[in-house]
Symmetry: C2
């Protein structure tokens, strides 16, 4: 029998890990296919011709891309262990915060990791801390999803991930006590623990990602 | 009795028009409250302290912001005349395309309208046309939603909107015959027609928006 669920990913990508955690929480068996950044397969390019990026979830031969879209697809397709709440207002809030995490927090976090100009890096760090303060204020339970991991927790996983690899204190305990505790709780959740890459794998991903961005920039500059 | 549904908006904002069309399609009565760009009300800032932007939908005193999040909230709260399809895979595709419209098409369209540097404007126009080609290829029915207006149509409304005000051929008929026809069909839909602002209102919005962006940039530069 053909594999029904396939995931095209790259080890260390926070967007791919999101999908892996969701599939694991739901108990869905899947085949993982590693894509090499900078040398993506024909299959990946056919499935995601617009963004040319991982993750792509393939279910019954039909591809879904963009991690937040994939998470919602998984939650609507397999109903067990819901990732989003059932109440429309709470669902709206979860979507709002996940979008906020991508647009405001992750972008600033990546900049504070990779930008070499010290002044620019400081600026990103300030932006990141301002954004994280909103999350700190919002967090009232063990997880954003309450007693269990939910959509916002999964979206926020880059916080403990980046922290592990960069030895960068994204959520220092004295500044963000609730997020700091959340970060540890999340990391120690059995499903998360099983999926999170090792420090070495994570380094490998960042290196490949930086090289692929540099190559794209060089190609654009030489046009 | 207190107003149950309120919409904080600014006439001419494509994001606000999205919400107005969705409410109208669903037949929901609501109170519209105009917000002046650059002089937002205390209420708006309290309801949307993070982005400080319209639209904000307030339902039973509870605020929802970010237009795509609001559209999904409306669709889940009032079930009549669905905006999103019921099938999970089709829902995922709709979410993918709406996100793509915001991230790739609208950003490029705004740049091709506002950037004064000719070379940069040309670059944005090229990016926009590349992105629109994907939409052209996707469109097979009267609307993206099939025979009726759906999530992707509502997300794409900036195309006829910008076209009307800027006399900018975003979707010239010889280049994008299907999108060109769609743009006219969409604009002539009775619900859309009733809600779309006049050319003068639209000009007013662009002027206020440009002024408010310039003011924010000046404030940032003088810090």
């Amino acid at each position: 029998m053909a594999t029904i669920v396939k995931l095209l990913g790259s080890v260390g990508s926070p967007f791919v890990i999101r999908v892996q955690i969701a599939l694991k929480l739901k108990g869905i068996e899947y085949k993982y296919v590693e894509e090499k950044l900078g040398h993506l397969s024909e299959t990946l390019l056919r499935y995601n011709p617009i963004y040319k990026m991982v993750p792509v979830l393939v279910h019954n031969e039909k591809p879904v891309s963009e991690s937040r879209v994939i998470l919602e697809y998984i939650d609507e397709t397999w109903k067990q262990n819901p990732i989003l709440p059932s109440d429309p207002y709470k669902r709206a809030l979860d979507r709002f915060w996940a979008k906020f995490l991508d647009e405001k927090c992750m972008a600033a976090a990546v900049k504070s990791l990779f930008i070499t100009d010290e002044k620019e890096r400081e600026k990103s760090r300030k932006e990141l801390f301002e954004a994280l303060q909103f999350l700190e204020n919002k967090l009232n339970d063990k997880f954003f999803g309450g007693e269990e991991i939910g959509f916002v927790d999964i979206a926020a996983l880059f916080i403990p991930l980046f922290q592990q690899v960069a030895e960068l204190q994204l959520v220092p305990g004295d500044k963000f006590p609730k997020l700091h505790k959340w970060s540890q709780e999340f990391y120690n959740h059995p499903v998360v623990k099983e999926i999170m890459p090792t420090k070495e794998q994570q380094f490998g991903y960042f290196k490949a990602r930086a090289a692929s961005i540099a190559a794209a920039n060089n190609a654009a500059a030489s046009k």
